[in-house]
């Protein structure tokens, strides 16, 4: 079994009738994802790509039994789209949209507290259970079903890591893009929890980078609850130009122990295996599996 999604996932697309929504919904249907509804306010009653379109999520959910949604809504309205999905008690919401105002995400985070929704993203490539279900915009050609769970802050490196894992004979249970935005839905801690509990997943790859505290939080979680399966982490950004502050990005990183070295150290102290370079993630995981079998 994959995490977050399975063969019973019934997907609703928020913003399906737009350019990006149309293009990626078509690809997801081709991949075998059960797309049951689209939501675009004002276009209710229409049909798009052979899928019924509704004015609201509540309506669409009631009519189609949708249990997951993907958000392609442009940045100005994406916050509202997420709040609507949370209010409609959508169990899983995956947000692809990037450049959403950060305070809109703070409002979404407040709405998530005590809700029934699990949010992935924004600025995420999505969730992929190879050969089962694709909710997202990622490349799928190299992904194969198998024992490795991948949680990543980077869409481009997820494709890279998936390709290396498949090359090393290790398929993937699920890949999760937690998104590149500072304020987002589920993080590494929730992904680890899901993968530790999932019987199909036997090993986990975390793809992290400089900035924020995701990696330190994951390390603390493992130290407190135990390392239940082998975890390999790749942390990129060691050679990034620190001295240059780009706009407010530096200011936002205030108070965070956000450099690559402290992340690597925290994870190592928790028993996580660090991939020595971005091209060695697949072989590092394969070696960890071989050691475990020996």
């Amino acid at each position: 079994m994959a995490v977050l999604v399975d063969q019973d996932t019934r997907l609703l697309c928020q913003g399906m009738t737009g350019w990006a929504g149309t293009y990626h919904t078509e690809r997801m249907i081709q991949y075998g994802t059960k797309v049951v509804a689209g939501v675009t306010p004002g276009k209710g009653g229409q049909s798009h790509l052979g899928v019924p379109v509704f004015d609201s999520i509540a309506e669409a959910k009631k009519a189609t039994g949708a249990n997951a949604s993907i958000v392609f809504v442009p940045p100005a309205k994406a916050g509202g789209a997420m709040l609507e999905a949370i209010a409609a008690e959508m169990p899983l919401v995956v947000v692809v949209t990037e450049r959403i105002p950060v305070l809109d995400m703070v409002r979404v985070r407040e709405a998530l507290v005590g809700s029934r929704t699990r949010l992935v993203g924004p600025n995420s490539q999505g969730v992929l259970a190879p050969e089962v279900c694709q909710i997202g915009v990622m490349a799928t050609d190299r992904a194969r079903r198998g024992p490795i769970g991948v949680a990543s802050r980077s869409a481009s490196l997820t494709s890279e890591v998936v390709s290396q894992l498949t090359g090393a004979g290790l398929g993937q249970s699920t890949t999760i893009g937690i998104g590149g935005d500072p304020v987002h839905g589920i993080g590494f801690v929730e992904c680890l929890d899901l993968f530790f509990k999932d019987p199909q997943t036997e090993g986990i790859v975390l793809v992290g980078e400089i900035g924020g505290t995701e990696e330190q939080d994951a390390a603390r979680y493992i130290r407190e609850t135990g390392l239940k399966k082998p975890v390999v982490a790749l942390i990129v950004g060691r050679a990034a130009p620190h001295e240059r502050r780009m706009g407010h990005a530096g200011a936002l990183a205030l108070m965070a122990s956000d450099d690559a070295d402290s992340k690597v150290k925290a994870l190592q102290d928790a028993g996580v295996i660090i991939a020595p370079s971005a091209h060695l993630v697949g072989t590092t995981m394969a070696a960890a599996f071989a050691r475990r079998a020996a």
Binding site: V106, A239, H248, L254, A256
Partner: protein, 390 residues
């Protein structure tokens, strides 16, 4: 989007937050006239550039009388100010803010920002620091206190009272601070700020709180809903290279090495920098081509590397994803080389969506290229070429 100090103070004034009496001057004569109007014993003349840490770089001058203001303004205006935040080129000072100096009984640091671990708006306060606040905060800052405020919800008075106590404010000063924090929080949310920093926040001898220096950055993703603030953006005040790159959907940062780097995706970009360093090389730039970039945008980005005389080799590391296929990037590469005329060796690692079609396109451009099977080979090969070893 960062605002100038004087613009930030104009915004805070709208929220009934006191700032010193001040005027903008574009010439030494205007600075002298401003000083006479302000009519204060002691004054500050402050360079208005879009970067912090100005005081340490000599961009803030304490002066007396109109003659002092005139002299300070003539030294600052037209000069390039290099601070720890401007990069080595510095920014040209086009305006100065002439301001009344405020007598302080106590000086504080106060900032509002989005706290990444709680995902909420948080206030940070502590004693005023002249310089290096970021470093101080990064190393733990035991004398600084944090309070999570949320965004639209009710402020909890008890927590704020406790917060005042933790930063050493009592009685009337604490009441004033509490009121100021409420107004500042409203300002933060209403203008979609990413950061409001007041350093110092001065408690005067008569018990008033005055924001003596203000840094205000607006969330770039939210500028679209503030046309009044968007019109304050003055493109001449920001890094031109970065600005042009961003207009072409590319994040670009110039570095001091010789390996030019072309990558799609921020994570893959960081990984490529790391690999070039690990191979003993030195990157000429960081580049992240956004998925929204078309081949002409990409040609512009690659053109910036071809225009960099320090770059000796172009390392192209591309994973064609669901939103941007390899051929789009290869087209940009070919266009950039034809425009530039410069012959620079190209080392490529291209894989993913439509890689074979991209290879066919690449053959047409007839570039001095080497293709590698994986990113590490590409990074080591590019480094060897840059160092004259291949």
């Amino acid at each position: 989007m960062q605002l100038h100090e004087f613009q930030a103070k104009d915004i805070l004034r709208r929220y009934q937050i006191d700032v010193p009496l001040g005027r903008i001057a574009l010439t030494p004569d205007e600075a002298a006239a401003a000083a006479r109007q302000i009519n204060s014993e002691s004054l500050f003349v402050k360079a208005q550039i879009l970067a912090g840490d100005r005081a340490a770089a000599g961009g803030v001058r304490a002066v007396r009388a109109a003659s002092g203001a005139r002299a300070a303004a003539s030294e600052l205006l037209g000069r390039k100010l290099v601070t720890s935040q401007t990069g080595p080129g510095g920014y040209t000072v086009k305006r100065v803010l002439v301001e009344a100096a405020i007598d302080a009984a106590q000086e504080l640091y106060l900032a509002l920002r989005v706290d990444l671990s709680s995902g909420s708006v948080a206030a940070i306060a502590g004693p005023h620091r002249r310089s290096g606040v970021e470093r101080h905060l990064a190393t733990g800052a035991p004398d600084f206190q944090t309070l999570t405020l949320g965004v639209d919800g009710e402020r909890r008075d008890g927590d704020i009272a406790d917060f005042c106590g933790r930063i050493g404010l009592v009685g009337d000063a604490a009441d004033k601070f509490r009121a100021l924090l409420g107004r500042l929080h409203r300002a933060f949310v209403e203008v979609d700020a990413a950061l409001i920093e007041i350093n110092p926040l001065i408690l005067t001898k008569s018990g008033e709180l005055v924001a003596a220096d203000v840094k205000l950055a607006i969330d770039d993703n939210a500028v679209f809903r503030h046309p009044d603030i968007a019109q304050l953006r003055n493109d001449e005040d920001v890094d031109q290279v970065q600005l042009q790159a961003q207009r072409h959907q590319i994040n670009y940062v110039l570095m001091d090495g010789d390996v030019g780097i072309v990558v799609n995706g921020a994570g893959l970009g960081l990984a490529t920098l790391d690999m070039v360093r690990a191979a003993g090389g030195s990157p000429a730039n960081f580049m992240d081509i956004r998925t929204t970039a078309k081949s002409l945008d990409i040609a512009h980005g690659i053109g910036m590397i071809l225009d960099n005389p320090r770059a000796k080799v172009l390392l192209v590391n591309v994973y064609g994803g669901g939103m941007q296929s390899c051929d789009t990037i290869v087209d940009g590469l070919g266009i950039a080389f034809r425009r530039s005329g410069r012959v620079m060796p190209v080392v490529l690692r291209i894989t993913g969506n439509s890689e074979n079609f991209a290879r066919m396109r690449l053959a047409n451009f007839n570039l001095p290229k080497t293709e590698c099977a994986d990113m590490w080979q590409a990074a080591t090969r590019a480094t060897a070429i840059a160092q004259g070893r291949a």
